[in-house]
């Protein structure tokens, strides 16, 4: 559905038009039917990539294809629905008028348009009285719902959402999460960026991590977390002097607790405990979360 290969994008900013490389050799693919999470810190290149996909930004080099069509062609946008980050709309319109306007732009009209608007509003729990009020009176949550509603009116094959859950209250986040999953169940491919990594872990089939304009990790959440070393947090029944801890095992603030940095350190600790007759009270293996990995990647990029 999305194919990006060796994408480069440079911005020219300021009076001197100094170039700044925003995307550096970005490559990844999104297969049809996936929910694909795109994560990274602020300024990493998430919105730039999304704007290249939606034809709002031109790119320097590389291949970008949506359903086989370049975003430089208007045709590519017949496949997509897009909601920008913190969507702004014409505040002199009501929510319903806005949806009618966008619906007409994607070729809908008459009763078909009314039906489609109703369907989108119901999906997003937005079929309320406020939909007939002017948008200038809307809260962030209402605006986000209308934003997503306008992007699904055409029943797109690909839904692109830039930070769809940011700034929403827990109920709003849950509604958006559920809407994404429901649309995906209907066959819509969803590509979205987010800072809320817990939500990304919960609903994404695959994830790409971008830091400083480069893709640093890509795969399923499990692939990414499995690719990192696992820590073992161990509690023993008797205390072990810190000087006697095997290689790769570090104390965890208590004589009976220690942390094994990898599988080999764990094995050495177990052998030591068997030799000394120390019984194990508890052992937990802790896989790093996406947040841990992202933090690590940001720190690596900074150095």
């Amino acid at each position: 559905m999305i194919r990006i290969e060796h994408l480069h994008k440079t911005y020219r900013t300021g009076f001197t038009m100094k170039p700044k490389l925003a995307l550096k050799d970005v490559s990844f693919q999104v297969e049809p039917g996936q929910v694909f999470g795109f994560i990274g810190p602020n300024g990493a290149g998430k919105s730039t990539t999304i704007k290249v996909l939606t034809g709002l930004l031109r790119y320097d080099s590389g291949t970008v294809l949506i359903n086989g069509v370049s975003p430089r062609e208007v045709k590519s946008r017949t496949f997509i629905g897009y909601t920008p980050e913190q969507p702004y709309f014409y505040d002199y319109l009501t929510g319903r008028e806005l949806l009618k306007f966008y619906g007409k732009l994607v070729g809908l009209d008459g009763s078909e348009l009314d039906k489609r608007i109703q369907w989108a509003l119901e999906l997003l729990h937005a079929d309320k009285d406020w939909i007939d009020r002017r948008l200038r009176s809307y809260s962030k949550g209402m605006m986000q719902r209308v934003g997503i509603a306008q992007s699904i009116l055409s029943k797109p094959k690909l839904l692109i959402l830039d930070e769809p859950m940011s700034g929403l209250d827990p109920v709003g986040r849950r509604d958006v999460r559920e809407a994404i999953q429901e649309l995906n169940n209907m066959g819509v491919t969803v590509f979205y960026s987010s800072h809320l990594l817990g939500d990304v872990e919960a609903i994404s089939h695959r994830v790409a991590m971008i830091v400083d304009g480069r893709i640093v990790r890509e795969g399923t959440v499990e692939d990414i977390t499995n690719s990192c070393s696992v820590e073992y947090h161990v509690r023993t029944r008797q205390g072990i002097p810190s000087g006697e801890l095997p290689e790769g095992v570090v104390p965890a603030g208590h004589a009976q607790e220690c942390i094994c940095g990898d599988d080999a350190a764990r094995d050495r600790l177990l052998r030591y405990c068997l030799d000394k007759g120390i019984s194990i009270e508890r052992m937990e293996h802790k896989r790093p979360s996406l947040e841990d990995i992202l933090t690590e990647e940001i720190a690596r990029a900074d150095t």
């Binding site: 930004l57 208007v74 997509i80 897009y82 969507p87 732009l105 994607v106 070729g107 992007s151």
Partner: protein
Amino acid sequence: MQTLKHIFVIAQNTFRESIRDKILYNIGFFAVALALFSIVLGEWSVFDRAYVIKSTTLSIMSLSGLLISIFVGISLVQKEIQRRTVLTLLSKPISRVAFIVGKYLGLLLVVAVHLVLLTLVFYATLALTGSEPTFSLLIAVYLIFVEMAVVIAVALLFSSFSSTILSALFTLGVYAAGHLSNQLLEQVRFASRMGEVDASTSALFEKIATVIHAVFPGLYRYNVTSYVVHGVALPDMYLFWNTVYALGYVGVFLAIASWWFSRRDFL
């Protein structure tokens, strides 16, 4: 066909945006008030009352049309970019040319409605004061509309690549140049004939004036108030050729605006 529909939908929304804008009502209100005030002016003036009412009202139409064309025109594209509504709009399967043309036609419709309303006030004023509401006055109103069609295209062109304030200044500059270019050329030629400047300087000035006259749209052509107020007939095909002339400029300005807008990145 699809592009025409997109243009229509965008024009419709631009029209709706403008008629929900307070600026338009303020300009419209003052224009109507001034048109009615022309009756008082007609009474006070030493000139013929009908002449004062006709020339004053046509000037008001031209000025208020200009204010709408410039101040709404320059904000049409800039507002979309600053409020970031352009992101959602251009992510739809519409071309940027359709966006520019739709915006243009939407504002043109606003100016047309404004002029129609003022024309009704104009004719009512003339009828009430017994000041010969002749059909020929509509020619002057039509030419004001054609002139505004050019001015809106200029405003849209500048607003596609520069800030609101600069766009206003550039558009006013083109408007002034368009009205004065003919006089400038005549003055330079007159000075040259009278031998007030030396030959080489005179030739240089004439070249500059000729270039200004050729490049800027000759908006002076659309000011026919004195002709219609005094009942002087315009040359044959005057309306036709000046409409074609305006369409040519509108086409060029919109083509440049669309080309420039198509190359823009939206952050």
